[in-house]
């Protein structure tokens, strides 16, 4: 059995204080192993983004534990959390958020170098990654010259370039049509498995569920795991 890549234990998060405190996460626990892929569903306001933010070391919970890549996260230490994001986490956002004034290759190498790779290593990995994703011909183009689907593929390459044990994706297909969204989701799942990284994708699109190993549903701050079969009628 693969090692645990991401583990959250009893995460509690409220916004506001005292009588005005609004609980968003009510003791959420979650474990993902290396190479495992999971999807997180739930209605708006159910706490998906808050959970993703905490798992991504962007937000601190009121209580609970978080382990990334086998190490416990010092949640109160902002610098340590930034270090974890830099080296052990990969992100894919709803919009690719590529720097519009840098070429595709430069966008990748910038992040890879920030993750600690040498300039040469970052360049080599960026080239290999772009070739693998069929974007080699676009390496010197600016993001504005690419389609939305191509930009998300670059964002996937960026998330995986420094080989983090955990990839977190927030609505990565929301800005794309179904065909391109499906292709991006397939690519994300395949690349994460190849890289032996745990993948958690937040989405509203239940048609994508069949592509993932596990399915979580968030409802009113509580997380439940469910079977894929409940969503099979949507699968394409």
């Amino acid at each position: 059995m693969n090692a645990v890549a991401l583990a959250a234990l009893g995460l509690v998060k409220s916004y506001g204080t005292g009588a005005l405190a609004e609980p968003v996460l009510r003791g959420v626990s979650l474990t993902l192993r290396a190479g495992e892929t999971a999807v997180l569903l739930g209605p708006s306001g159910s706490g998906k983004t808050t959970l993703l933010s905490i798992l991504g070391c962007l937000l601190t919970p009121n209580s609970g534990e978080l382990h990334v890549g086998g190490a416990r996260v010092a949640l109160g230490d902002a610098t340590a959390r930034t270090e974890l994001r830099r080296t052990r986490l990969g992100f894919v956002f709803q919009q690719a958020q590529l720097l519009p004034f840098l070429s595709i290759r430069e966008n990748l190498t910038l992040v890879a170098e920030n993750a600690g790779l040498t300039h040469t290593d970052a360049g080599d990995r960026a080239s290999a990654s772009l070739a693998r994703l069929g974007l080699d011909a676009h390496r010197e183009k600016l993001p504005g010259q690419l389609s939305g689907g191509q930009r998300q593929r670059v964002a996937i390459a960026r998330a995986l370039l420094h080989r983090p044990p955990v990839i977190l994706a927030d609505e990565p297909t929301a800005a794309l049509d179904w065909e391109h969204g499906r292709a991006v989701a397939d690519l994300l799942v395949a690349q994460s498995r190849d890289a032996h990284a745990a993948l958690l994708v937040v989405t509203h699109d239940t048609r994508l569920v069949s592509r993932f190993d596990r399915v979580f549903v968030m409802n009113a701050g509580r997380l439940d795991e469910t079977s894929k079969e409940a969503f099979t009628h949507h699968a394409a």
Binding site: T49, L52, S53, G56, L58, L59, T79, T82, E83, L84, R85, R86, T87, L89, F91, F93, Q94, Q95, Q97, L99, P100, F101, V111, N114, A115, R158, D170, E171, A174
Partner: protein, 367 residues
């Protein structure tokens, strides 16, 4: 980020360049004025100046006995000493209009007079009724050249030479003649009076020692080195009349305008890329590296603007050489201005830096 919006980049650099030029021009005026108002002192090739007590500036000297010249000559270590007359007078142009002038009377070796002649000879002032004026003020004085005649308080004077580069800070042109004729033109002076005694030390003589001895031997006078007298004159005009403060304030205003332009641009650029900054924070970029990005942009904008402003300044300075209002500078003054401008640029990036520092990386996630 800067290059991504080239029109805005060009406008920003142009704005900073103009602001820097404004500040540099103000300081250029200041340096030019200080050089102008101390020019006769500095070009006199004297080590020591003897004057009436509490003389505030070169232009406001009062009479001292001419015997102070001989007394100065007798001080051990003095190579030579001679008198200099300086008094305000009224010049009547050939067309009848009258203007104030500063009449300078020169002694036998013409120390304290023009240091460059455009036409004629400096020695012409030894001739009776002859004066020298500067080429910058011939039009103001209503003369065309050598041989023209005018009046100084009702007494005839003939142009015997035209000097070059003798500007005035007071708006009253300098007119040169001999001490004897100057006293004749200025009835407030007696024949045995001068305004200043100029002295030069003999080779090897110790200037402070000579100065101290001269102070001891010449009663009711002040004995200043050339530098001390130049500083006193500059301080009087720049500080006591408020001119210098005004110029410095205007220069600061110029820098302030540049800072506002820069601040607006950096803030706008930062806001344009806020989502990208948030993404970079989420991807593990530390806040200091993003602040460094903002500061680098500020320095790049500042450097480009300063380079443009510098080119404008030296162009204007070159044009101003032959005018009565020269723009001049010195390496320390210009270096200080560049450093102050770059510091202002960094200060102007504070708003943008604050935005980046306060950025919540969670905002990168869709809610």
């Amino acid at each position: 980020m800067l290059l991504h919006n080239r029109p805005r980049l060009a406008f920003t650099i142009a704005g900073i360049a103009v602001a820097f030029f404004l500040a540099a021009a103000q300081f250029g005026l200041l340096v030019g004025w200080i050089n102008t108002l101390t020019a006769l002192i500095r070009h006199a090739r004297a080590d020591l100046w003897v004057m009436a007590e509490q003389t505030p500036a070169f232009d406001y000297g009062t009479a001292i006995p001419r015997q102070r010249v001989n007394q100065a000559r007798s001080v051990p270590g003095v190579a030579w000493a001679e008198g200099l007359f300086m008094g305000w007078n009224i010049w009547q142009r050939p067309d009848g209009r009258r203007i104030n002038v500063e009449l300078v009377g020169l002694d036998v070796s013409h120390r304290g007079g023009p240091w460059e002649m455009h036409a004629g000879e400096l020695t012409s002032v030894r001739r009776s009724g002859v004066v020298i004026v500067d080429e910058l003020f011939t039009a103001a004085l209503g003369v065309r050249g050598i041989g023209d005649t005018v009046e100084l308080i009702g007494q005839r004077a003939e142009i015997g030479g035209i000097s070059r580069g003798v500007r005035t800070f007071t708006a009253s042109p300098f007119v040169f003649t001999s001490i004897e004729q100057a006293i004749r033109y200025d009835r407030r002076y007696r024949d045995n009076e001068v305004t200043y005694v100029l002295a030069q030390c003999a080779p090897g003589a110790d200037l402070p020692t000579v100065q101290a001895e001269m102070r001891r031997r010449l009663p009711h006078t002040e004995v200043l080195t050339t530098r001390e007298f130049a500083v006193r004159s500059a301080r009087y005009w720049m500080l006591e009349t408020g001119v210098g403060i005004t110029v410095v304030l205007t220069a600061a205003l110029g820098l302030g305008v540049g800072a506002v332009i820069m601040s607006q641009t950096l803030f706008a650029i930062t806001n344009d890329y806020l989502a990208h900054y948030a993404a970079l924070r989420a991807l593990g970029f530390h806040a200091p590296s993003l602040v460094a990005c903002v500061l680098t942009q500020a320095l790049l904008l500042g450097t480009a603007g300063i380079a443009g402003g510098t080119a404008l300044f030296f162009l204007a300075a070159r044009v101003s050489v032959r005018t009565s209002i020269p723009l001049e500078t010195t390496p320390p003054v210009f270096a200080a201005l560049v450093v102050a401008s770059l510091a202002t640029c960094l200060l102007a990036s504070w708003l943008a830096m604050r935005t980046v520092l306060r950025l919540d990386p969670v905002s990168v996630f869709a809610r």
